[in-house]
């Protein structure tokens, strides 16, 4: 009998309360163990964890690698797997391995198999894949059924072929289909973070609006509290399902009506609505009331089902190989003449390299002068010290390092009118100051695709892990 079998043998109905423990908003960066342990004492029906998103940038989706270290990822996975198996309750992990493409899913599964062996855990796994076939994307593109989500060009066939990984964000449908297969643990590729937590209550018949609203808040663990933090949070859907309560499992964090309402702003362009594959959550009419000084009750969000199912698709492609140069300067004449120096160095580098390295780019990030700023740099005063982070891209790693190295030498010795620092314009914190930084990627798609058969898009497989059976492997 699996954890989901056991839950469904005597399922909570909409007349009972349903407790969901959100263990982590980004599994792999260190789940606070004490708050998780407190949450387990509350006898949750489900543990959910989000393991990624597009937020860390295109490298992870592009390369298929995880953003989190293997050691801490193993620690966190061990914590939640042991917790769920000991209580015999379902565990759902979404956006496996940072970006949720097949490579991330397989890396995560390999870690889970190792943990199961080491910890002697048995489990029935449901694995939900999220890679989207290129042929389908092309077909939908040609049918005019792929749309942009903002200031990014529409894709074309060549971009679809160039992308190293393309994933779709699954919603509740995929998780409900996986729960119907009665596993102990669900590991999903790229997924809406809400669906991890809302699929069980929706499947059990609780009203969709409050269930999705609760999911949207708890997917970030205790960030909705004051002070915000990464500790586990308990979301409890109250009998009838029209309201839910939020309580951080760290007693120092309070979910107050204001802190919970403010969470609707967090990383959202529109605080009034949340778009999901199968509908839109409207929170305009939500209300927030204090149950006590650290627990808040929420009600009133409305679910509007969509007439057309849509899935957000994300893709990344390789741009080139990156090398960086790290150096600083505190020379006032250098700082006064930065624009001129940059222009001069670019000219020198071009005259050296242009014969045999083509297609390279150089970007001077000059910290102290507004290098962090995407928009206006005009508020920055002249600094007394600056840092050069020079980003060089080329077609291969040797060329990228060559561009950084030549730039280094010409920046060090660049002559200009009024120069004092004839020993060298820059200080290196260490050598070599030019460093290969791996492959550079960019998001080539962040679009929405209309979908006719969503179940086909996110196939599920079942794997039985028998960690408790120790098989001798003598050679």
């Amino acid at each position: 009998m699996t954890a989901v079998d056991r839950l469904f043998a005597n399922p909570p109905h909409a007349t009972d309360e349903l407790r969901i423990l959100a263990a982590s908003g980004q599994l792999g960066y260190g789940i606070p163990a004490e708050a998780l342990a407190q949450g387990l004492k509350r006898n949750p029906h489900l543990i959910g964890c989000d393991m990624g998103s597009v937020d860390p940038g295109p490298y992870y989706l592009g390369s298929g690698k995880m953003a989190t270290s293997e050691a801490i990822t193993i620690r966190d996975l061990t914590l939640v797997l042991k917790a769920a198996r000991n209580l015999d309750i379902p565990l759902i992990i979404g956006t496996a391995g940072t970006a949720g493409a097949e490579a991330h899913l397989q890396t995560t599964l390999e870690l889970i198999r190792t943990i199961a062996r080491n910890e002697r855990l048995d489990m029935k796994l449901a694995i939900i894949h999220a890679d989207i076939p290129r042929a389908l994307i092309k077909e939908m593109l040609h049918a005019g059924r792929i749309h942009t989500l903002g200031p990014i060009p529409l894709i074309d066939d060549a971009a679809i072929d160039r992308a190293t990984n393309i994933v779709g964000q699954m919603g509740q449908e995929a998780f409900i289909r996986a729960l119907e297969m009665r596993p102990d643990v669900i590991i999903a590729g790229r997924a809406c973070d809400t669906a991890i937590f809302s699929s069980l209550p929706v499947m059990l018949g609780y009203p969709v609006g409050p269930a999705v609203h609760m999911a949207k808040i708890i997917e970030c663990s205790s960030i909705c509290c004051t002070p915000g933090g990464r500790d586990a949070i308990l979301g409890t859907i109250e009998p009838g399902g029209e309201s839910f309560t939020l309580e951080s499992m760290n007693p120092l964090r309070a979910a107050t009506p204001l802190s919970v309402a403010a969470h609707s702003l967090y990383e959202q362009a529109d605080p009034f609505s949340v778009h999901e594959p199968d509908g839109v959550l409207r929170v305009d009419s939500a209300s927030y009331e204090a149950v006590n000084e650290r627990v808040t009750r929420v009600r009133g969000a409305v679910w509007q089902p969509a007439s057309q199912i849509t899935v957000k698709i994300e893709g990344a492609e390789r741009v080139g190989e990156r090398a960086i140069l790290c150096a600083g300067s505190s020379d006032p004449r250098v700082i006064e003449n930065l624009a001129l120096i940059e222009q001069g160095v670019r000219g020198n580098v071009a005259s050296i390299l242009n014969d045999f390295i083509t297609g390279y780019t150089i970007k001077f990030h000059i910290y102290g002068t507004g290098a962090t700023q995407i928009f206006s740099k005009s508020k920055f005063k002249k600094p007394s010290e600056i840092f050069f982070l020079v980003e060089c891209l080329a077609n291969n790693a040797d060329h990228a390092k060559a561009v950084a190295g030549v730039t280094k030498q010409y920046l060090l010795h660049h002559g200009f009118q009024g120069r004092l620092s004839t020993g060298g314009n820059i200080a290196f914190p260490f050598t070599p100051p030019e460093i290969n930084a791996g492959t550079a990627y960019r998001f080539s798609f962040y679009h929405v695709m209309e979908v006719d058969n969503i179940a086909e898009l996110f196939p599920i497989e079942i794997e039985q892990i028998r960690g408790n059976v120790q098989v001798a492997t003598h050679v």
Partner: protein, 105 residues
């Protein structure tokens, strides 16, 4: 009649920025009480046109939303580069609130 100069940084409780997906940056300005929120909502310095000028962007790439449940003003700006594309300077978009810091209401 006395005139008071109220600096945004002195009355706001939070002034932050972050990506809202890889295509947009969102700025949230939160206020601790109804008085300061009302003052900010009525201030010309926090209107879309003034903010577009301050951020040196086209007015149609910036919008302002007043969100009463959290006493917050939200500003949403289109990114000129998709987050993390080479040439970007803030992959998470977490340091784009700087141009707001010297606003007077």
């Amino acid at each position: 009649m006395m005139k008071f100069i109220v600096r945004l940084i002195d009355v706001a409780s939070v002034i932050r920025s972050k990506n809202a997906g890889p295509l947009q940056i969102t700025l949230d300005i939160l206020f601790p009480d109804a008085t300061s929120y009302a003052l900010a909502c009525s201030s010309n310095a926090l209107k879309a046109s003034a903010l577009a000028e301050r951020y040196e962007v086209e007015p149609n790439s910036l919008s302002v939303i007043h969100y009463h449940p959290a006493r917050a003003i939200k500003v949403v700006i289109d990114r000129p580069l998709v987050a993390g594309t080479p040439g970007d300077s803030d992959v998470y978009g977490a340091q784009q609130h700087h141009p707001l810091l010297d606003i007077t209401l």
